[in-house]
């Protein structure tokens, strides 16, 4: 059994438990174990873009230091935002030792961060460590006939310095969908922002964005969309359900890990969504038992 240190992040540990549940089960089937850090804190979610704001790098550094103290140098994330913030903070401090020294001076009697712990997104682990062929051998229930629009959002592929795929033409989600037997429906909107945290300040902007995203997916004939971020998922599910009242296509969204679980014959944990994906899955011959 391979193992990797794992950082849930606040969203995954709270309302995105279905993502963790299915990721853990899928990795288990692929002979990988996620070992949650014994202590962790919020990564800060939005990477600080100011050059003088070292305080906002303390959170990520603290998380990375926990990994360093376990004598490991990689940290698995499921959430795209955590992935981005952890990787960017690590780069920001590692490329200028003076910044790192100032952060360590602030941390005082706590262990210094020495640099070099890399956040790894689950999509990278699947593509680069596990490999698509290993995934394919575990597929027991191919998602034949299911049309899925991948939604990448922003932080998996932007900025370029930490992009895990091509910023304009990513393919990792499409590739995984094909391995699972589904038919990818790529749209131009798959890399366009859903409105992100503005869901807390300006939900109408988010509703407009998710309307555009779901319209593009529906135009391509998609049955549902997949996400890799609890915030994108919230916007494409809860906010889209609101937007659907005024005409947006009521297209369900699930985490890509949930579709993987379904294809591997594992519990897809599909009971948290506002827009229930089970009817469209059932219509494609992929009925999921509903627990009473």
């Amino acid at each position: 059994m391979n193992s990797i240190a794992y950082y849930p992040g606040c969203g995954v540990a709270d309302q995105a438990r279905s993502m963790e549940h299915t990721a853990r089960a899928v990795l288990q089937a692929l002979d990988w174990e996620m070992q949650e850090l014994p202590r962790w804190n919020c990564c800060g979610t939005v990477y600080s873009l100011a050059s003088d704001d070292l305080m906002r790098h303390i959170g990520p550094v603290r998380v990375l230091t926990h990994v360093q103290e376990l004598k490991l140098d990689r940290l698995l994330t499921l959430c795209s935002m955590c992935y981005s913030t952890l990787r960017r903070s690590e780069r920001f401090l590692n490329e200028d030792r003076e910044r790192l020294e100032r952060v360590n001076a602030f941390l005082d009697d706590e262990p210094d961060y020495r640099g070099g712990v890399r956040a790894v997104h689950l999509l990278e682990l699947l593509r680069d460590d596990i490999g698509y062929s290993a995934l394919e051998t575990r597929v027991t229930r191919p998602l034949e006939g299911l049309k899925v629009a991948p939604y990448y959002g922003c932080t998996l592929t932007r900025p370029r310095s930490v992009a895990l795929d091509d910023p304009e033409h990513p393919s990792v989600l499409e590739d995984i969908l094909e391995v699972l037997g589904a038919e990818p429906v790529p749209t131009a909107q798959r890399v366009e922002c859903c409105g992100s945290y503005m869901t807390a300040s300006d939900p109408s902007v988010v509703r407009r964005r998710v309307t555009a995203i779901s319209e593009a997916a529906a135009a391509g004939g998609a049955d549902l969309m997949i996400t890799s971020c609890p915030l994108c998922q919230y916007n494409l599910d809860a906010r889209l359900a609101e937007a659907a009242r005024t005409g947006a296509p009521r297209l369900p969204s699930v985490y890509f890990t949930q579709l993987m679980a379904l294809a591997l014959g594992l519990d897809p944990a599909l009971d948290e969504q506002v827009i229930d994906p089970r009817p469209v899955l059932a219509a494609r011959g992929l009925a999921v038992e509903v627990e009473a």
Binding site: C10, R39, N41, G44, M55, I58, F106, E110
Partner: protein, 227 residues
């Protein structure tokens, strides 16, 4: 005061005083002539009334402790914080939605935590304050309750926090929610409540109420004490 007691110099609220070595900060203040009517309580480290911050000579660090617990040292700069200005969000336990995390709705500033750990360093109870704020952020109310259990509400965390969080109010809310809805219910409590409702203690209460003050004192002295 015997002559062989060594005296030290401390600075209380900016003024120098000679006090005997070995006193707590609270006793040193009283020795210096302060009559404490605020910022003092149980004198035993439990009530959290005597929040104090101090620095030592030649040390940049700002320390925080309870005045009744920390020992005064030579050269110390001491300031009392008799009250911490803080807003306690209004909530009624029975009206909180027991299935969701009420903390973020009542104390949204929890989301401002940058994990700097200053609160933990300030805590005289040596609690993992930052960890419980982080647990609050991710909705793990039981973890907040557990980690904040020994909080004495002195407020030093809230004084030091750069994100302006009032940690001890967050911890208290979590402990109430945890105690009411998450912690296993004690079977003997339900039994006792039933006994009260059934009137099992009416007669005993009646007897007590009819006693004179002297009889009550006598009965109190003779009571069974669980050992």
């Amino acid at each position: 005061m015997s002559a062989d007691v060594e005296m030290i110099q401390v600075y209380i609220m900016g003024r120098p005083y000679k006090v005997p070595q070995g006193l707590t900060i609270m006793k040193a203040m009283e020795h210096a002539g302060y009559r404490l009517i605020r910022g003092v309580g149980c004198r035993g480290g439990f009530c959290g009334a005597c929040a104090t911050v101090y620095r030592r000579p030649g040390d940049y660090k700002l320390y925080a402790d309870l005045a009744c617990q920390a020992t005064a040292e030579d050269g110390m700069y001491i300031a009392q914080i008799p009250s911490v200005p803080a807003d306690r969000a209004p909530w009624v336990l029975t009206e909180l939605d027991r299935n969701t995390n009420p903390i973020l709705a009542l104390y949204p500033e929890v989301a401002r935590c940058v994990a700097c750990n200053t609160c933990t360093r300030a805590c005289p109870q040596e609690l993992e304050v930052m960890d419980y704020i982080q647990a609050a952020l991710r909705g793990d109310i039981s973890q907040v309750a557990e980690l904040s259990f020994d909080c004495v509400q002195c407020g030093l965390c809230a004084v030091r926090c750069p994100a302006e969080i009032v940690h001890y109010h967050v911890g208290q809310l979590a402990r109430r929610v945890h105690g009411a809805y998450r912690a296993p219910q004690a079977a003997h409590l339900a039994d006792r409540v039933r006994e009260v409702e059934d009137g099992s203690f009416e007669q005993a209460l009646d007897t007590l109420q009819k006693m004179s003050k002297d009889e009550l004192v006598e009965a109190y002295k003779k009571r069974d004490v669980e050992r």
